[in-house]
C-alpha cells in the first residue's frame, strides 16, 4: 500500500494517522452541510421541501453522532500527537478546552436535535433505513426549550470552531510549527 509522506493508518506521536484525519475532515464537511440544511429548512415555509430538508438534517446529524463515537474511541486507542513544547501554559489550557468542547458539542448537538424531534412528536429516521426510538415523550414546553438549546449549541460550535481554525492558522503561519500540517494529508512533518 502506498504510504504518502510517511502517513500511517494509526496515529503516531508526531502526526495524526489517515483514519483520524479522514474522520476530522469528514466531520468538518458534514458540519458545513448541517448548517446549510438547518438554515435552509428554517427559512422554508411549512411544506414538503421543509420536511425533506429537516429529514436530511436529522440523518446527517445522526451520522455525525455515530462518527463522533468512533472518533472518540479512536482517540482513546491511539497516541495523541502532543502540543508543541513552545506553548505557554494558558495556551495549553485553552487548546485542551477547545478540543474537549468540540468533542462535547459533536455529541450534544445531534443529541439535542434527536431529543427535540422526540419532544415534538416527529421521530427521527436515519436516511429512511432505521427509525430511531423516541428519547422523551411528546412535550411542547420541552420541545421549545430543546429548540433553544439546539440553537445555542450550534452558535457555540460556530464560535469554538472559529477559535480552533484561528489557532491552526496561527500555528501554521506565525508559529510555523507542525500543528496544522500533521492534520493534513500529503504533507511532510518535520
Amino acid at each position: 500500500m502506498l504510504k504518502l509522506a510517511g502517513m500511517t493508518f494509526r496515529n503516531t506521536p508526531s502526526r495524526w494517522g489517515s483514519f483520524a484525519q479522514s474522520l476530522h475532515w469528514l466531520i468538518v464537511a458534514l458540519l458545513l452541510l448541517q448548517v446549510t440544511l438547518g438554515l435552509v429548512a428554517d427559512d422554508l415555509p411549512l411544506g414538503m421541501q421543509k420536511l425533506a430538508m429537516l429529514a436530511r438534517h436529522k440523518s446527517v446529524g445522526i451520522t455525525i453522532l455515530g462518527l463522533a463515537v468512533i472518533r472518540l474511541a479512536w482517540r482513546w486507542s491511539n497516541p495523541t500527537p502532543p502540543f508543541p513544547d513552545t506553548l505557554k501554559p494558558y495556551e495549553r489550557v485553552l487548546g485542551h478546552f477547545t478540543h474537549a468542547a468540540l468533542y462535547a458539542l459533536l455529541f450534544a448537538l445531534p443529541l439535542s436535535g434527536w431529543l427535540m424531534s422526540s419532544a415534538r412528536g416527529f421521530p427521527v429516521s436515519w436516511f429512511g433505513f432505521v427509525q430511531l426510538p423516541d428519547l422523551v415523550p411528546k412535550d411542547t414546553g420541552l420541545y421549545e426549550a430543546l429548540l433553544q438549546t439546539h440553537h445555542v449549541l450550534a452558535i457555540a460550535l460556530g464560535v469554538i470552531a472559529l477559535l480552533h481554525v484561528a489557532a491552526a492558522v496561527k500555528h501554521h503561519y506565525i508559529l510555523r510549527d507542525d500543528v496544522l500540517r500533521r492534520m493534513l494529508p500529503f504533507t511532510k512533518t518535520r
Binding site: L46, M48, L51, L54, G121, F122, P123, V124, S125, F127
Partner: protein, 197 residues
C-alpha cells in the same frame, strides 16, 4: 392467549351473534353504539422514514346486528375530520388544509358496510369508505369481544386496516409524491360498544 381461551372467546362472540339473530324473529336489529370515552381511532403513516401517529378525537360508531344474521348486519362509522390530532399544531393544520384532507370542504369521513362476513380470526366489514369526497371499497376487519360490565353487556370492537391516501386524493401538489410522506396509512380502532337506540 391459549388456544382454549381463544376458542372460548370465539364461541362467546358467536353466541352473541347467534342470540342476537335468534332472539327476535320479526324484531328490529340490535343496535350497539359507541362509548366515546372508551374508544379510540388512531392512524399512523411513514414520514421521512419514521412512523408518525395521530388520532381522531371525535368519531361515532354504530353496529347493528340484524335478526336474520351476520350478512345483513351493519357497521357505520362517521369521523369528524377537523378533530384529527397528531399532537403538533403545524402538522395538524397542514393535514386539515386544502392540499390534504380539506376539512372545510369535507368535514366528515364515513364508512358504511354493505355486509359483514366471518373470517378466520374475526369479522370483516365490507363496504364503502368516503374520505375527502372519494368513495372506495374498503375492508374493516375486526374482532369482537363481549363482556359484562356493571350488569350491562358491552362489546369491544378492535382491529386494524390499511388504506392508501392517494386512492382518496389525499395529498395534492407536492404531497402527491410519496417520497417523504408514505401512501399507506394504517388505521387502528378500539371501540367500546354498548346497547343503545
Amino acid at each position: 392467549m391459549t388456544v382454549f381461551a381463544s376458542r372460548a372467546l370465539r364461541c362467546t362472540v358467536l353466541v352473541t351473534f347467534a342470540s342476537a339473530a335468534s332472539l327476535a324473529v320479526a324484531a328490529p336489529p340490535t343496535r350497539f353504539v359507541q362509548d366515546a370515552a372508551k374508544s379510540t381511532l388512531a392512524y399512523s403513516f411513514v414520514q421521512a422514514g419514521a412512523r408518525n401517529k395521530g388520532t381522531f378525537r371525535k368519531f361515532s360508531t354504530t353496529l347493528e346486528l340484524a335478526p336474520d344474521g351476520l350478512a345483513a348486519s351493519k357497521l357505520d362509522v362517521a369521523v369528524d375530520m377537523p378533530s384529527l390530532d397528531t399532537g403538533d399544531k403545524e402538522r395538524d393544520d397542514t393535514l386539515r388544509g386544502a392540499e390534504m384532507f380539506d376539512v372545510t370542504k369535507f368535514p366528515q369521513a364515513r364508512f358504511t358496510s354493505t355486509q359483514i362476513v366471518r373470517t378466520a380470526t374475526g369479522y370483516d366489514a365490507v363496504g364503502k369508505l368516503t374520505l375527502h369526497g372519494v368513495a372506495r371499497d374498503t375492508h374493516v376487519p375486526f374482532t369482537l369481544r363481549t363482556a359484562t360490565e356493571q350488569g350491562k353487556t358491552v362489546s369491544y370492537l378492535t382491529g386494524r386496516t390499511t388504506i392508501r391516501r392517494l386512492d382518496f386524493g389525499v395529498g395534492q401538489g407536492d404531497w402527491k409524491s410519496t417520497e417523504w410522506v408514505g401512501n399507506d396509512v394504517t388505521i387502528d380502532y378500539s371501540v367500546r360498544l354498548a346497547p343503545g337506540s
